[in-house]
């Protein structure tokens, strides 16, 4: 979305499945696999993924590989920016975050991904300490806002909305793009 909006046709986004958020021990290996492929093609690399529960292993691997990453511990954090995210966290520790992507795929990644479709009785074990669902939006889309509100209802949480746009991720990609443009010129 960011690449398209900026006309960065030379950037080739490569994705790992978002379902790895439920298996964070597999994130580092999955990212490393994509880095290996990109390096074999002599491509410049930028990782747009949070630590997301790897316990610092993602950053350790990236440092060894000499690859830059967007700052932030959680992937939803870089859509709001670290300081704003910290304020959200301090205001209510029990906040469950959604992005545009997570809102679109809420049923697949959260309801079915966490087994709640077949075992709704597990809801209190997963979400018993959560109070609020905060949708950090990348686009101003009323349909997604309604879907996020419905997601909050399903989880029995208060609903809040925050428009973050592309946040720190947009800035980081712009910076990466400028850097490689200079390197290509040189």
């Amino acid at each position: 979305m960011i690449s398209k909006a900026n006309g960065w046709e030379h950037l080739q986004p490569q994705c790992i499945t978002a379902e790895l958020h439920n298996y964070p021990e597999q994130i580092t290996g999955a990212v490393k696999h994509l880095i290996d492929i990109a390096k074999s093609k002599d491509q410049e690399i930028f990782v747009a993924y949070g630590d997301c529960g790897t316990g610092g292993q993602l950053d350790a691997m990236l440092e060894a590989e000499g690859v830059e990453r967007v700052p932030g511990s959680h992937c939803y954090e870089f859509f709001s920016g670290g300081e704003v995210f910290e304020q959200f966290n301090e205001a209510e520790l029990g906040t469950f975050y959604l992005t545009d992507f997570l809102t679109r795929h809420f049923d697949r990644l959260v309801i079915r991904g966490m087994g709640l479709e077949d075992k709704p009785e597990l809801m209190p074990m997963y979400f018993g300490h959560y109070k609020k669902l905060l949708y950090i939006a990348q686009t101003n889309d009323p349909k997604l806002q309604e879907m996020a509100r419905q997601a909050a209802d399903k989880l029995g949480l208060e609903y809040e909305y925050y428009y973050g746009g592309t946040g720190v991720l947009g800035d980081a990609l712009l910076s990466f793009n400028q850097r490689i443009a200079v390197e290509l010129k040189d």
Binding site: G53, G55, S73, G115, K119, L122, Y126
Partner: protein, 180 residues
């Protein structure tokens, strides 16, 4: 019933989870069943007057509200014969220290799910060192983003990959401490 059905069953579930045969929802369903069983057995076991094999204070560190792993460990420890004092979630160092003072356990267990909260374990352990009480307790740590290297770095006695490992490690360390 406790050893063969509840603890034995959960041990198999833990092994199957580790091997990728079962997933979190199935583990939680099994844990719910064990919780129900323990609720029935607990008063009956108390009537027998059997002594616990050790005492543990356990809590999720400050800034973290996740307790699935902690609850599994607490339940498995109780099933193995430990007295478990679960002090809950989002626990600051002062509350850990107060619980140690009040309950005088053999073991302090700390849990964290988030990369951002796991460093708080070092805050607790360093504070215990400052107060000269670190060596009075066995400190075990666990949680999805942790690993052995992290456990060593923060100065824990052990990193527990899962609840079954926590039980084995606790039994071994308490026995060794009492034999010393």
């Amino acid at each position: 019933m406790l050893n063969e059905a509840l603890v034995g069953g959960m041990t198999i579930v833990g092994i199957d989870f580790r091997d990728g045969i079962l997933f979190v929802p199935e583990v939680l369903s099994a844990a719910n069943a064990m919780k129900g069983g323990m609720a029935i057995l607990r008063p009956l076991l108390a009537e027998t007057g059997a002594e616990s094999i050790g005492k543990m204070v356990i809590g999720t560190v400050k800034g973290d509200i996740h307790d699935i792993g902690k609850n599994l460990v607490a339940m498995m420890m109780e099933g193995a014969g430990f007295e478990v004092i679960d002090i809950g979630i989002n626990i600051p160092v002062e509350d850990y220290l107060a619980a140690l003072e009040e309950h005088k356990p053999d073991i302090l267990g700390m849990s964290a799910l988030l990369t951002t909260t796991m460093p708080y374990m070092k805050v607790v352990i360093d504070t215990m060192k400052e107060k000269g009480i670190r060596d009075d307790y066995i400190v075990l740590v666990g949680g999805a983003p942790l690993n052995q290297e992290f456990g060593d770095a923060v100065g824990a006695c052990g990193y527990c990959r899962d609840a079954a490992v926590a039980v084995d490690m606790a039994k071994e360390m308490v026995a060794a401490r009492r034999a010393a």
